[in-house]
């Protein structure tokens, strides 16, 4: 007997809907086994990870705070992935956006500058992320360099650049030698939505991004162009769509959204630039994009779900002494299952007798 992947005649709508749910279920089973092997109670772990954060209003607000950057980045990445363009470097674009926006906050710090500072920071953050993303895009279009490698490698360049800035030129003189900039002025921080909470205007921006992307993909010729270039490159050329321009476009948009998320994170919950501003948002957003089926609304839901794992992971570390890295393991396993389940949309598994080889030939 052998297992064979057989192409379906038509894509299965049922599995297209069920696939993310199935992937989550499989991930939970795998996680339970892992936790049990580590000698803890799996059910208690699942409770701490996924239920407890939902029972507490502080954690619920935190969920939205964590989901906002994930959703913003993932929406940008989904545009790339729909067009068959593989931007893996959102983490770096996130950091560069944070750095570019912070520059203005640092030089205006304590000068009494007006309320124009925050909007200008957001623009700088988006522009910085976009320009940084255009480096791998340009290398792909001009030299044929794999954007997967170049965009990923630039993450570490961005990380080290930020490290240098906060330890060197931008370090807070009154910061006890901690590697961080001075706390941003009020004109350089995101307004909060609810008095006294960490819930800030970034959540609204993320919502606007989701709606904008849904309109772009569903209603505009540009969105159509993105989908055709990804689904049928030859047909896209026949339609008159320029694949190289689209590489630049999708990288620029996703870089801008990652950069915007970066500066919002720094100007919002964090309040100053320091290493470790991102718990891996740029990479987790890749999982969010796929779990959300590369669909803006789906990404909104998936972003909230993965934000839950960040918060639950912190809770599990505190209350059950489970390692924080378990969260990353969880996210990795989830991506693995999502991709595996997605292949069931176009293929089906069949058991066939070993006496016959897989038959193929021209039809």
């Amino acid at each position: 007997m052998q297992l064979v992947l057989e192409r379906r005649a038509e894509r299965s709508t049922l599995i297209a809907i069920a696939s993310p749910l199935l992937a989550i279920a499989l991930t939970l089973v795998t996680m339970s086994i892992l936790v049990a092997v580590m000698g803890k109670n799996p059910l208690a772990a699942l409770w701490v990870y996924f239920i407890e954060p939902l029972t507490d209003s502080y954690a619920l607000q935190e969920l939205v705070v964590k989901a906002s950057p994930l959703v913003m980045i993932a929406v940008g990445l989904s545009l790339c992935y729909l067009a068959n363009v593989w931007n893996i470097g959102a983490e770096g674009q996130f950091i560069i956006g944070a750095v570019c926006g912070s520059w203005l906050a640092v030089i205006t710090n304590g000068t009494g500058a007006g309320p124009w500072v925050l909007p200008a920071m957001l623009v700088l953050g988006a522009a910085g992320g976009a320009l940084y993303a255009l480096i791998p895009a340009f290398c792909k279009v001009r030299f044929g360099a794999s954007e997967i490698l170049t965009s990923l490698m630039l993450v570490y360049v961005a990380d080290l650049l930020m490290d240098y800035l906060v330890r060197g030129p931008w370090r807070d003189p009154k910061g006890m030698n901690f590697p961080t900039t001075a706390e941003f002025d009020p004109v350089a921080t995101m307004p909060t939505l609810v008095e006294g909470s960490r819930l800030h205007a970034g959540a609204l921006i993320a919502l606007i991004v989701v709606i904008g992307a849904a309109v772009l993909l569903g209603r505009t010729i540009k969105g159509f162009e993105i989908r055709v270039v990804g689904a049928a490159p030859k047909a896209a050329r026949f339609a008159g769509f320029n694949a190289n321009q689209l590489v630049l476009f999708t990288f620029a948009v996703s870089g801008a959204l990652a950069g915007l998320a970066g500066i919002i994170e720094v100007a919002g919950p964090v309040g100053h630039l320091q290493p470790g501003i991102s718990p891996g948002y740029g990479f987790t957003a890749i999982i969010v994009a796929f779990l959300g089926r590369l669909n803006p609304i789906g990404i909104l839901v998936a972003g909230l779900f993965l934000a839950l794992t960040f918060i639950g992971g912190e809770g599990a570390q505190i209350s059950m002494k489970l390692p924080l890295d378990l969260t990353k393991v969880f996210q990795g396993i989830l991506l693995f299952y999502v991709l595996a389940c997605d292949s069931m949309i176009l293929y089906r598994i069949r058991l066939i007798g070993s006496s016959r080889k897989a038959a193929h030939g021209p039809v």
């Binding site: 005649a9 038509e10 894509r11 209603r219 505009t220 010729i221 540009k222 159509f224 989908r227 055709v228 689904a231 049928a232 030859k234 047909a235 896209a236 050329r237 026949f238 339609a239 008159g240 006496s355 016959r356 080889k357 038959a359 193929h360 030939g361 021209p362 039809v363």
Partner: protein, 528 residues
């Protein structure tokens, strides 16, 4: 190599019997209780339209797929095939319509890959040379496949099959890629193989060819066997009627044959290929007048694809005047700009080039319609307009589909082709460039499409038809020119364009093949 002695002196006993062969895919019966008897020393034709079940049946006989029901008997004994290698071991050989050859390997290396590897490469090469000489199928074992013509590539497949000394040979549409002269040579070889006592199963839909070559014929329609007959006792029309199940409406010539000014002009178009195995276009010039259908014949791979790309603007030339559409220099324009000048294009490949397979028909209407038909306003898609185009095309061209707006891939070849051609014709283009308009399309759809092309030119459009099907060109084209190694022959008028003349031009008469091949080799070396 007389194999008749292996299975008795006479052809009385069938070599292969297929009894009640049924193949079911879900609710669809690809083969429905088909019987077939193949005798030694006989060429048996398998006739039918696309989708009639010919391919399914031969794949079952070649062990590629397993029948749902029914039995195969080989020399009287029941036979269950474990796969193609089992079929080959028993003495069944097959040449597919689409070759499975590696371009960058030599002839001998390609043949070696298809054999079991029990003999040394040197011995195998020697045997290859021997077999190809014996059967008058000259091949240089050391030559790389990409340097060979399509006809030569087919010879590799045939020789590879003959080296296994098969008792039954299956050939799937072997003449589709050949010039008439090459086809004649192939028939001589087939006659000889038959005289050696082998059975040949010959799949075709070219009726004249079948009448000329075959001793018996089985006709399939909708998965069922409708008749077994002696094709020499039938007329082409009676065979066609059995295949289609109805009379095919003859294409009506357009009413007004008057031509107007040149609407598509190509001036000294030369272009290097972007693919290392592609063909360089060399100094191509021609013009198509309004009201005229200009046919472009030639064996596949002689630069037709490259010319289509240069005309459509998928690849732009560096000279504005190289392509002129309705008086506008369009050589450096994009495909979208050319569409805005009133040009329309239909590529050879329906799925993947002409349409995005997994997208809906309305989205595929937008694919070519976004440039010039009001489907896009201020960057936003007018979904109703795209759906209206689908409905109009469906109605005007009788596109059969399961729902209003299905994915392109779910349509049958003929219906999708009617959609792809209809989508362009509904825009009333002034210039239409269409490649292989009826390739792999059933007879009814082919007639509809040819009629639509004639009617369009009758309304004053200039129509360029690239086709390998000489019968099609004879039916609709006013003038025909032939592509060979990236060059274009002088056009012949329809009356002058006999099969013989076209065949000679397709084989490269009058034009030397030296420079073209050198350029391909240079391009290949640069790309390697």
């Amino acid at each position: 190599m007389d194999v008749a002695s292996l299975h008795g002196p006479s052809g009385d006993r069938p070599l292969l019997q297929a009894i009640g062969i049924t193949k079911r895919y879900g609710n669809f019966l690809a083969n429905d209780a088909v019987d077939l008897d193949l005798y030694p020393r006989t060429i048996h034709a398998l006739l039918g339209e696309n989708g009639a079940g010919k391919s399914t049946l031969v794949k079952i006989i070649y062990g590629l797929i397993e029948p749902t029901a029914g039995e195969l008997r080989w020399m009287g004994q029941p036979m269950v095939l474990a796969g193609p290698s089992d079929a080959r071991t028993r003495g069944i050989g097959m040449v597919f319509q689409h070759f499975s050859l590696f371009d960058n390997l030599t002839v001998a290396e390609n043949v070696a890959l298809g054999l079991d590897g029990s003999e040394s490469f040197a011995a195998m090469s020697a045997r290859l040379a021997q077999v190809s000489r014996d059967y008058g199928l000259p091949l240089d074992p050391k030559r790389e496949v990409w340097r060979l013509s399509v006809g030569e590539r087919q010879r590799i497949e045939i020789v590879r099959m003959l080296m296994q000394n098969p008792k039954l040979l299956i050939l799937d549409e072997p003449t589709a890629v050949l010039t008439p002269q090459e086809a004649d040579q192939l028939f001589v070889v087939l006659e000889r193989l038959k005289e050696e006592g082998r059975a040949i199963l010959y799949i075709s839909h070219k009726l004249e060819e079948v009448k000329r070559l075959c001793d018996s014929a089985t006709i399939l329609r909708g998965g069922k066997k409708v008749a077994t007959c002696d094709p020499r006792q039938e007329t082409a029309a009676s065979l066609a009627r059995m295949m289609v199940g109805a009379d095919i409406a003859a294409v009506k010539p357009k009413s007004a044959r008057a031509t107007t000014v040149p609407r598509l002009v190509v001036n000294h178009l030369s272009m290097k290929p972007d693919d290392p195995h592609g063909v360089a276009l060399q100094d191509i010039s021609f013009e198509v007048k309004g009201g005229e259908i200009f046919g472009l014949a030639g064996v596949a791979g002689n630069g037709q694809d490259e010319l289509f790309a240069a005309l459509s603007g998928e690849r732009r030339t560096d000279n504005e005047g190289a392509v002129i559409i309705d008086g506008n220099g369009a050589g450096v324009m994009t495909i979208t700009e050319r569409r805005r000048l009133g040009a329309a294009f239909v590529p050879e490949e329906r799925l993947g080039h002409g349409t995005a397979p997994r997208m809906r028909l309305s989205e595929n209407a937008l694919l070519t319609g976004h440039a010039a038909s009001g489907m896009v306003k201020h960057g936003f898609i007018d979904k109703l307009a795209t759906l209206a185009t689908v409905d109009k095309t469906t109605q005007a061209f009788d596109v059969r589909k399961a729902k209003r707006d299905p994915e392109a891939v779910s349509l049958s070849g003929g219906n999708l082709q009617k959609f792809v051609v209809g989508r362009e014709i509904l825009r009333e283009p002034g210039v239409l460039v269409v490649s292989q308009p009826t390739w792999g399309v059933d007879a009814g759809a082919a007639a509809t499409i040819r009629q639509a092309l004639l009617d369009l030119s009758g309304r004053g459009a200039a129509v360029l038809v690239v086709s390998q099907d000489l019968d099609e060109l004879a039916e609709i084209a006013d003038r025909v020119a032939v592509m060979y190694h990236g060059t274009l022959s002088a056009p012949l008028t329809a009356q002058d364009a006999t099969r013989e003349k076209l065949g000679l031009l397709m084989g490269g008469a009058k034009t030397g093949d030296g420079p073209a091949l050198e350029e391909r080799e240079a391009a290949h070396a640069a790309g390697a």
